[in-house]
Amino acid sequence: MDAFADLANGFAQALTPITLLWCMVGVTLGTAVGVLPGLGPALTIALLLPITFKVEAANALILFAGIYFGAMFGGSTTSILINTPGESATIVTALEGHKMARRGRGGPALATAAIGSFVAGTFGVLGITFLAPVIVDFALKFGPPEYFALMVVAFVAVSAVLGDSRVRGLTSLFLGLLFGLVGIDLQTGQARFTFGQPELLDGIDVIVITVGLFAVGETFYLAGRHWMGRDEIVPVAGSLWMSKEDWSRSWKGWIRGTLIGFPIGAMPAGGAEVPTLLSYYMERRLSKKPEEFGHGAIEGVAGPEAANNAAAAGVLVPMLTLGLPTSATAAIMLSALQSYNINPGPMLLKTHGDLVWTLIASLYVANVMLLVLNLPLIGLWVKVLKVPKPYLFAGILVFAMVGTYGVSRSVFDLGLLLGVGVLGLLMRLYDFPTAPVIIGLILGPLAEQEFRRAMITSQGDLTVFATRPLAAGLLVAALLLLVLPPLIRRWFTSRRTGEAALEG
């Protein structure tokens, strides 16, 4: 196995004291920006690009890899503890994770997220090492019809996050789809729903909606009800650590999340949001305790967190094998390579194999380091909940301002944040779930663009969705997901009542 020897060489490079120090700086910085709402790894790496003039290539890449994985780890922390996801990929984590934290189970939620991230990262790195060519071939088979079919599957999975009322859940989803329409239409260059505002031409930033609906909306809601003494979060109840039951409910979620996240992350238009949603849906369907979903089911944290991190590793596959930057972070890491006179492309592995293997090995090292750093910190993180509420939420608002105004320097964005925050308050008061808005905002434009691309390439022939086997297969899967679960549930309930009748 050549890959083994190359990987061993990479590890030799990645395990020197100096590189370990760089990795340490990277993961800590990454965790910090992941925790803060609005700031992501792409921006952080861009800000640190000048470092490439001074530091040798391997060290800079290790630093960036640390930031990248660290941000993925850190993103889940605030989602779980204070229901304020810093980026769109951790919204699904907040659904169950925050419910767990409210019941005093923040410790196990953070632990399953950290271990799940580690498991996914480990398999992700192994996947990059041994499966990259296969995965890339598979990912390139995805044309517009296949992507659209994948989006249809994702829309079916949205049903898992709609909440108690289908009508209100769907209203949230369609509100998100509406937000997704704002801006210049990619295919025709026509502005839609911009009302003459230049700030809206580029669409509504997912970050502004996420931070607005969750962080600001939550602040409004708690401020408006503070004197009732309700919504008191229990800081810690029981063990900080995962129980035996937690372990047995988590590990399958980690594996399944990884298996979903890695290939979808490797697809050029895949992203991390679709796999987290699919993983949540799957865990909810396969759980032995589906009634706990919506009230803090640990599987609902384990699966999506693993999917999120596996997708983050998957994104690196097209970047390292084909030189394709398929996410903002990958694009910036590639431009960092250029300042070292390395032209990223399909020849990267051949011409600069040593560097690529060092990067892969340091990803793994970063992963181990994050686990080692994060597990002991869980006790400290949970203490965040003990910060007096006025200061905790006022502080969150200040960081929300850094993440929006500080990035765009636009007062308009600040106003938008306020407006979306008020919307978030109304949605909480009238029991509309907020997560479907974000999912609609992300899936809508993808589904629309891919559908229209498919129509252009097929000259308007709708049968492409049936004649292309991969697309057809995905659509059949979506149909089955829609039809089968109710049938199975009916079968189970009838059998259970039958058994009960027998026992009685």
Partner: protein, 324 residues
């Protein structure tokens, strides 16, 4: 929260000590500091240009310090109003922009335009290239042209956003060969990576973009280049021009720098001198060569005239494409 902040502070302090680049001046410093305004997100062409300029100016000792600000979106029309309204009169500001912005201003009917800022210099250019998947039946540009004439809508193109330089070039080619431009089956992608994946995966008939986007894939034999939009062949690029193959279209996507409105003549002269010194530095020449850019340097006055010409030309093309 408390813990997180303390931890963040310590690390940031450690990390921030690093980017301070060593300044070894071997040229006279022209400005104490220069601040780049990039109306696009990090990672793209304008951003790379700004960051390369920053690097060259610092290593050549032309400026004391430099910073880059990104305000991305809509071909630069989100950032431009901000540059005009908030940066006015600031003699150390330089906006990196280019032909793409002219197209976006026209297509988005932007209330502000490039006549409201101060042109400093045109710097670099890039040729457009048409590529096909390696499985494609098209061997030469003529093969593609023949298919385009036979059934315009059956030839699908992958490129950047609608109304951008890729779309404009595709429209010019279709028009020049007498195909129905309104039937052009142009599939817009938002990032270079996605368009490349569509071509590599043989999902479209052909792809069109700047040479830099595809050069590595072409060198690796993963895709085939049919022709470039430059006036004549370019050293180091073994691809014939459109003109050579009977398609009378030339097009170069250029990038340049602009100062804010209302700056003093003295500041303008200083910025022009700074950019001129940078262009002449060996460091810049090396970067241009390394990144396979075309050196299309034009000082302020000639550049202003170019912008006027391009405004007219692009308006015409976008009208035929139905975008203006």
């Amino acid at each position: 929260m408390k813990f997180d902040r303390r931890q963040a502070l310590a690390v940031l302090a450690a990390a921030a000590a690093l980017p301070m680049t060593a300044r070894f001046a071997h040229a006279e410093q022209i400005l104490e500091q220069v601040r780049f305004f990039v109306p696009a997100n990090p990672g793209g062409g304008w951003d790379q240009t700004a960051r390369t300029m920053e690097q060259v100016m610092r290593t050549a000792g032309l400026v004391g310090s430099a910073q880059v600000t990104n305000v991305g979106g809509a071909g630069g029309t989100v950032g431009l109003p901000q540059f005009i309204n908030q940066w006015g009169g600031q003699g150390d500001g330089l906006m990196v922009s280019g032909l793409v912005m002219i197209g976006a201003i026209i297509a988005n009917k932007s209330p502000v335009n490039l006549s409201m800022v101060t042109p400093i210099a045109r710097l670099i250019g890039e040729t457009e290239v048409i590529v096909v998947p390696k499985e494609s039946p098209f061997q030469t540009l003529q093969d593609l042209v023949a298919a385009l004439k036979a059934d315009t809508a059956a030839v699908t193109w992958a490129g950047g956003s609608a109304g951008g330089t890729d779309h404009i070039t595709a429209g010019l080619v279709a028009k020049a060969v007498g195909a129905d431009v309104t039937k052009l089956a142009y599939v817009a992608y938002s990032g270079g990576g996605e368009a490349q994946a569509a071509i590599l995966g043989n999902q479209v008939s052909c792809g069109i973009s700047g040479w830099g986007e595809f050069s590595e894939q072409v060198a690796a034999g993963a895709i085939r280049a049919l022709g470039i939009s430059a006036e004549e062949r370019i050293a180091g690029i073994d691809v014939p021009t459109f003109k050579e193959q009977g398609v009378d279209v030339t097009f170069t996507n250029w990038r340049g720098v602009f100062a804010p409105p209302d700056i003093t003549d003295e500041d303008k002269a200083k910025l022009a001198a700074l950019v001129d010194a940078m262009v002449k530095s060996p460091e810049w020449q090396a970067e241009v060569k390394k990144r396979e850019w075309l050196d299309v340097y034009q000082p302020a006055d000639a550049f202003a005239a170019t912008i006027d010409e391009e405004m007219t030309r692009i308006t015409g093309i976008l009208q035929t494409l139905g975008l203006a």
